[in-house]
Subunit: 474 residues, 2 copies
């Protein structure tokens, strides 16, 4: 649907998807499931069986407690709000989107009220967060984000006062064919097989890159812009991180609830680990840069490692989240988190959003938003009714920092090995600790089990400080 | 699955397909359908409602009368026999395939016995033919094939005694990129839209070309060989004929039994009409040849129209059906029809197949089969349990001749219009007479309604005689 569907097929495909969603809802809410769960739980043996039944019960309760009418209203409002959002974004005018967003928030308050009871969440917003990051709370996030924000802002200040890297070297023309070969090479280098006769992956093209599928069929997408080759490079590294996670789950749990992703945050930790911690490291490019120069020759013949490292690690406060660098990125997320929290605890009205947004961007990132299109309208999440999703992006970065720190203790030479193209050590570490555990634990428990401590942004901040201190010489 | 699936996905995909087939069988055989059909038929108004209910009843009876165990045995034997067929073909040894083909024939005898009762067919083979060409019988085919065979053999003799065209001019290298652009151009020229923002089609690549989908999403495949550009040209014209039929059915009948293809033979008449009657005509290439020469320039710069017409219309008795030319092709089919008939009326045993096959090829086509791989093992149909399918290939050619003859009476200038790139006349004729009628009539009734006469090979033979007489100068 996203890659090769003939455009005219959209109507037929939408009807098919609607039918499948009705059928799957019927199957998930079959009263027989409710009847079978209780006796099954009384005889469940071992943590895998228990976890499966816990996840089945959670899914069953959430599905059955949600009135069909509300589900239908949400689906309709999602289509309406997304359409209004597109118009508003094109017109750079929030007021077009406002009434539909208000209805969307209202419907999500109803959803949150129901989920609060099912999952015993303390606040409506916590109930929404739980859909993306089970058992995570706004209070826990607040605690971690407060320090993270301060640390990032001081780090950004230091980066800002240093000499700016020259990013014009990244604007050289690299033909699409060469970029495709680079994508394939990098995916293979990370162990995401897209070429062998037994491969379980593919790389295709879409406007917005994503990963889809599971186990033996996990595909990623990217996009190619001739004058911005690093766009495809880093999106492929990012999606490859997602793909390796999906492919790496315990195969004996296939088609069981326990054999799914742990959370959005854990998923994002895997993509950001590959994109940033591995993929923007000097050691990685020591080995890979000559290879991509070979593939793209002569386009990148003049590119030097140090120059490249500075350019792909520029720190530059900006207006658009999805274009943000590794350091400023989390401030974009923290702003969204604060706003969502305010929306659902009643302290912020939808009508105030543009003003609050613009003020926070000035305060957090020191940028002046000129219009709603580059401001509050930039993301599609809220139009789709996705509230509580944004924090998982930063949780992913924070987790990736904790994982980085633990790997560095377990395998002190892992980065040195990157510079000879050897990722076997970290691949087996991630497989054993993250991939294979799949959904056996809630994310907080998984992170504690892996790293020994709970959610903690310090390792991520330390990683950034060390890396940017060295790059910017402070 | 056939175009972009990662290879490792085959296991998962097979399980999914098996599950879907069980689910669809359950839906099709739901006793509620049987209960509803009778009262529905008593109040049905008009031929569309009546036809829908007739087709529903036929499908319901066929599905419910077939024991689940037999369906399961067939599915299993299909996998086993196909695997044995592959081994036998590689080893050029029929005896490897023999025991599995025997079981397959046996199972299909059981199927035929059941279908005989359901559809009141006179013989088991008629019952099998009915699955591909409803209401057609072996006797009716026999009658038409007997004359067709004689006419074709005498035409082939005349072509053989004329000067052979030079086909080496078709072996020039045309890069894959240019061949792809030619494919797109030809599809568009025939009105199969694969490029516009509202297109409902696509061209992809597979080893064996095919057409799939319906209505707003109909896709074709082809394959590209640098040194054989006409291979992709004619496979695209062929599949485009199929695609136009699928896209052109009455849209108000979407998802109704009446809104499906009439028969395999009628489907094939549409592909062969575009591939051969339009696609191998001088008028068509008068307009299109300069266009493909432009696209492929300089590869085809030396290609001249007359030379090209002779080369793509070579008549050359050969061993392999799918490589056969327009004239000899039907002899390959008639051989298979005779053998299938013998297999199901008990006059031929599976063990005799290679000998009978080789003798018939010598008698009909004057070629000497050297081994089973280029002989009785060349097609996959029997391994898949498809008996009664082969005749529809020739029925398609015969129907296409009848359609050609009628169009030529209705629009005497239609061929002249091809030479200025105008296909609008035949497109609207085919739409009105063939596409839009979809499955409203059984194929014999449709052909009679369109052309005024029943199944008749004479127009096809006359078309061939006129065309090849002119090309070969007799």
């Amino acid at each position: 649907m996203e890659t090769y569907m003939p455009p005219r097929s959209i109507g037929m495909k939408s009807e098919q998807l609607a039918l499948l969603s009705v059928m799957s809802h019927k199957m998930r809410t079959d009263p027989e499931i409710g009847k079978l769960l209780k006796p099954a739980k009384s005889v469940a043996k071992g943590i895998v069986e228990q976890r499966n039944l816990y996840l089945m019960q959670k899914g069953y309760d959430e599905s059955t407690k949600m009135p069909e009418k509300l589900v239908e209203q949400l689906a309709k409002q999602q289509a309406i709000a997304t359409s209004a959002w597109k118009s508003a974004k094109a017109a750079k005018n929030f007021s077009i989107f406002k009434p539909e967003l208000e209805k969307m928030v209202e419907l999500n308050r109803e959803v949150a009220d129901i989920l609060m009871k099912v999952n015993k969440a303390k606040t409506p917003y916590d109930a929404l967060i739980d859909s993306f990051e089970p058992k995570m709370t706004a209070d826990a996030i607040d605690l971690v984000f407060a320090d993270l924000r301060k640390d990032l802002m001081s780090l950004i200040e230091r980066c800002q006062s240093a000499k700016k890297p020259d990013t014009s070297i990244l604007r050289v023309t690299v033909p699409t064919g060469a970029q495709k070969d680079i994508s394939t090479m990098l995916a293979q280098a990370l162990g995401y097989d897209v070429t062998s006769p037994n491969s379980g992956g593919r790389i295709d093209e879409t406007e917005h890159p994503f990963t889809t599928g599971m186990y033996d069929d996990v595909r990623i997408t990217t996009h190619y812009h001739q004058d911005n080759f690093t766009d495809s490079v880093f999106s492929v590294l990012h999606e490859t991180g997602h793909a390796l996670y999906e492919q790496g789950m315990n195969p004996t749990w296939k088609f069981q609830p326990v054999g799914t992703a742990c959370s959005y945050g854990i998923h994002e930790s895997q993509s950001r680990f590959m994109e940033n911690i591995v993929g923007r490291s000097k050691e990685f490019w020591t080995y890979q840069l000559p290879k991509i120069k070979d593939i793209a020759s002569p386009s990148l013949d003049d590119l030097e490692l140090d120059q490249f490292m500075r350019a792909v690690n520029i720190v530059n406060p900006s207006k658009i989240r999805i274009e943000a660098d590794e350091v400023t990125y989390n401030l974009h997320v923290i702003i969204r988190f604060q706003i969502e929290k305010g929306l659902f605890n009643g302290k912020i009205n939808v009508s105030e959003l543009p003003q609050i947004w613009n003020e926070m961007y000035e305060e957090y990132l020191d940028v002046k938003i000129e219009n709603d299109s580059e401001g509050v309208l930039q993301d599609t999440h809220w139009a789709s009714g996705l509230f509580g999703y944004f924090p998982s992006y930063s949780l992913g970065n924070i987790y990736s920092g904790q994982i980085f720190s633990k790997i560095s203790r377990d395998q002190p030479d892992w980065k040195a090995k990157l510079s000879v193209g050897d990722l076997s050590g970290i691949k087996s570490w991630l497989s054993q600790n993250v991939y294979m555990n799949a959904n056996l634990y809630d994310p907080a428990d998984l992170i504690k089990k892996i790293t020994g401590t709970g959610l903690n942004a310090k390792p991520f901040v330390n990683y950034l400080r060390a890396k940017y201190g060295e790059l910017y010489g402070f």
